[in-house]
Symmetry: D2
Subunit: 356 residues, 4 copies
């Protein structure tokens, strides 16, 4: 198992949904940086379930305890370890998972990989709860990036059939970034919120769930970051973003739309603006040849519907070797897309800080 990321700033996530605690070790942070822990907690609150109307009812006290790496509010240079204790777990809800894997979940693949020894309660190490230390790590990294003028913002691009406006790919206003960064239901065009919530409620009512997309932008990146070929920026960010549970696709700039374009449409013309080289359009998403060009870095991630639904589903009984059905009890979060927004921002921060 490898739950680590990065060569310069190494992130190592640990924990299982129903174990003693979950957390993260961040190795390589610069000594002397001051961290605003309230701002970190604010980001963690955006991810926590139960804060927004669309979220799961399970309450979490996600208060991280810093074991090492900080003295007061300042990074010491030693690995930063934060631990979040697990409480309020109801493991009896998951009693039959060992034998009947939930469709769309990692139950079956984890069973094969870990030979049945993995902690199945609450999804174990595969639990969405593990994104809490990810957001912690990302929030710390984002403060260091912000000092260099690098900001990261994401929004709900779509839920089901309802879409938000996309980012303007050549200019993203600081006020928009600020607004999105403090929202628990982040939208560029807030007028679509009601329709989106209706989509989620419809799924909930029908004991179902619904997917969506998240669009993310990074501003303030200098030109010249990244390496050609396998260490290009697209690959680095993709590796981080696919670390988020439920992500099944990623596209940069115009992405899959580029496949239908002509070169005369997709090539972004260069021009000078205020003495700096910019592009008039940004179909490449701020990356050419794997290297940043100084324009906003923009990508979209596809989030599959939460596999936990209250309907009866077809599955197998691994013990008896027979086909069977399964109804997962408990109340489920019908749409994780709003809460995926701060997680996508966090892993993007972790990827970007490793590019500098």
């Amino acid at each position: 198992m490898s739950s680590t990321f990065g060569e310069k700033i190494k992130i190592s996530i640990f924990g299982e949904s129903h174990g003693e605690g979950i957390g993260v070790v961040i190795d390589g942070l610069p000594a002397g940086e001051r961290i605003d822990m309230d701002a970190v907690l604010e980001q963690m609150a955006r991810r926590a379930p139960g804060r927004d109307k669309t979220a799961t009812p399970r309450k979490e006290s996600d208060l991280p305890k810093i074991l090492s790496g900080m003295l007061g509010d300042t990074l010491t240079g030693a690995p930063l370890c934060a631990v979040i204790e697990n409480t309020n777990t109801r493991s009896q809800d998951y009693g039959n998972l060992m034998t009947k894997p939930r469709p769309g979940h990692s139950d079956y693949t984890a069973f094969v990989k870990y030979k049945g020894s993995n902690d199945v309660r609450g999804g174990g190490h595969f639990s969405g709860r593990l994104t809490a230390p990810l957001v912690f790590a990302g929030a710390v990294c984002r403060q260091i990036l912000a000092e260099k003028g690098i900001e990261i913002a994401a929004h709900i691009k779509s839920i089901g059939s309802v879409s938000d406006k996309p980012f303007d790919p050549v200019f993203i206003a600081p006020e928009l970034i600020k607004r999105l960064n403090s929202s628990s239901f982040a939208l560029i065009d807030e007028s679509v919120e009601e329709k989106m919530r209706d989509e989620v409620e419809a799924a909930r009512t029908e004991l179902d769930s619904v997917g969506g997309t998240v669009e993310c932008a990074v501003t303030g990146l200098p030109a010249g970051l990244g390496e050609p070929m396998f260490d290009g920026v697209e690959g680095a960010i993709a590796k981080a973003v696919f670390g988020v549970p439920a992500v099944k696709g990623i596209e940069f700039g115009a992405g899959f739309e580029l496949a239908k374009m002509r070169g005369s449409q997709s090539n972004d013309p260069f021009r000078f603006k205020d003495g700096k080289v910019v592009t008039e359009t940004n179909n490449c998403g701020g990356i050419l040849g794997g290297i940043t060009d100084g324009m906003p870095l923009i990508f979209r991630a596809a989030i599959k519907p939460t596999p936990s639904i209250a309907r009866e589903q077809k599955t197998v009984d691994l013990q008896s070797g027979e086909n069977t059905v399964l109804t997962v009890k408990g109340r489920h979060d019908p749409c994780i897309v709003p809460r995926a927004v701060p997680v996508i921002e966090a892993v993007t921060a972790i990827a970007v800080i490793n590019l500098l």
Copy 2:
């Protein structure tokens, strides 16, 4: 710069389009394996320009010379180094690139990153020509994978507005794999070939280029490969595939379509078939929780239109600091999608062999 990939089987690509030679070092291959070099050359021919009607007129003699790592036809266990000499280069065609970056190319980002010292001729290290050693490396890896029953096949999923049929996600016939693997214009439904070639010709006639998508499948993978979170299979393959020039998006299984689905649609029901756990559908693309589930691994990559077009384009003059225009001379390949097929297969093989 980092043109290396892999921890178990390390691939290190070197070379520049107009330098003395290009090549690859592959470190970690198993000693004693016999390599069918004719089969390797056959794969390299699929990628080489000028073999198919849609390709660039530049002729390449892509014959790799093995410097080390093989004794006769058998791997020795030492790093395998293959070198391809560069010939037939017309560097005078590129005389003005240093000052006028081509839109959509890496000229500008490479200029910033390498402070103007990079070899700009033919795109230097960013040249599509560097995919030749990639295909060599992939072809060697594929032979080792084939012995374990793992096959890789890709096809042109679309060019511009013309689409091929997708893979049947739950069963891919060995004969289809074999046919695709030996085709220089790989299609599942060969009846769309004419329309696709028309699309390419139309772009060529209009001094333009056109993009497309490639769909790739891996069969025979055991369940249980990959790791959760950052070392999941999606991330590993994405990192490899984004190493291919012009790829701007990747999606696994139903990919971005999942964003519009309900959980009751997207969850793949489990059932027993011949005593083995399978899924009835394959919306997850053979990967759950970052780990293979034993079904075919399926993904699609978006390929942007070749940025080299013969039309006049807006750009900047980096020396004079003025906006200007540029017309790139020479004949250009209006569509690299057919030749991207064996390259996508190759990097997938490199990623997969590192998962075993």
Copy 3:
């Protein structure tokens, strides 16, 4: 800062001497293995100060708390995180370290590297206390190695001018390994213990400290482990062993004595024994060309005297910019060599498990 080791089994150490806690995350352990936690604690006790007559008076309660990765006594495959809380710290003892670096300590280099932001109390992340989670990690790895027949044992080869007998390089009895593994003052020839303790007491009486060497053997290794050149076994073990504070040298087999030998003396003759290829001598320490040959792997590490001594020493005042003197108060451990034995065993286990 990088306090991580390994590619297969990744060890990430965190903590500072006087922070909230210290600990380790171990990523990649095999699911389903049972861990005898009592045996782990026994190894940790061997390292803990205050258990043996030569040790520092500071008492530690080194009881590790498992946050994740185990269910009952069985590894789940998720990262194993163990935390040891810090208690009984007297940070006022170290009030003047920030400005007056202790000779032989990392105070000055840490000050330069971390720009004065590092936690200087008790040596911070450089504290010998950080070897507690190392021993925890090593003890877990050793149990997994033992199931494969691989045993690790070390002993005090020398303290000051008093030497123990060396290992018989071609055969190390299981009973000897067992005895050494449970000793807090591990010696092959126990008759030298009194002389060694006298050496330590003499140093203590004179407010001084004394160095020594540790010899370590690994038995049961199959031939063929390791890679040529940079990933040879010597390099892998050296990287781990130099991770132990105070180690300043390492030699394999006959080591520096080889420099005085003739080839006819140093070459280890091969012969068959019970159908297996063995060597008659073991001057190479079980490693030829960076690869194990199936004989016991043997090395010695040089441990410098503990830099903390109660004598007045010359140093600088980093604030005033003047030369000055320093007397470090408190009682000091005059010799860490006995306690270094289980730590050397632990890092060797961590290195070896990554070679398999």
Copy 4:
């Protein structure tokens, strides 16, 4: 097999003694640096056999051919690949190695590891000849280090029982570095040369070989390089130096002598000199807590006697399963220590450039 080193500047060595060619790919070099190729060749000549009286009679034309990464004399930023063709090989000399492993060589361990498929001619990938591309890579790195004021020099510290003077650990004169760097029999006290050569000649006359030690110093390093624990400077350099064939030990500063010292002797007192913090002695070899302190970095490596000797030696016949004897024909180099000097310098350069 892994013949790669480094994360920032990745070195990948390939080749076998009697294959088509050997070489190196260096990934990550800074674009725009000018390389003095004559100075590189001068370093390679120091390593080449047959240039000095003590060397093997085999002549090599070690002229490297640059395949990529340079345009004229300037680094382009793309991976630098240099190839040296193999010529003048007499593979018939080694006809019986497959079945009768030479004592002290990697023949047996390579046979086990590579299942008998490795290229045994001339030692294959384990050949000392592979140090030629190492010296090439090191020489390029040294030029980049020299621009930052960092110099590396090594000398023959001992051969058999004859010793050179050690470096003055607190000051190493630039003239001495220059002289050592251009010598093929590098000594601080040149008056011992005759005695050392006598030692070598005595070994040669007796159909034997003799070992020695190399001492290496790095000057001009800033304080603060390296990381605590596993990525300390000692470990990084040890990993590189153990990549050199025949090295069996390494010690930093006073090294194994520290084991006999008291803390009051070994602790290096700090003082200010010209406004800079220095140490009065340098028993720590310029490294405290794994981090450079700004003093010269000093280490010694133990080189075992060349295992190739013309005497009859006991070995096994792997085919017949019987004990037997072996006499390796051909003329042998009785002492590789003089030629190991530039190789040790080279790998040190490769390690140091990765620390910056």
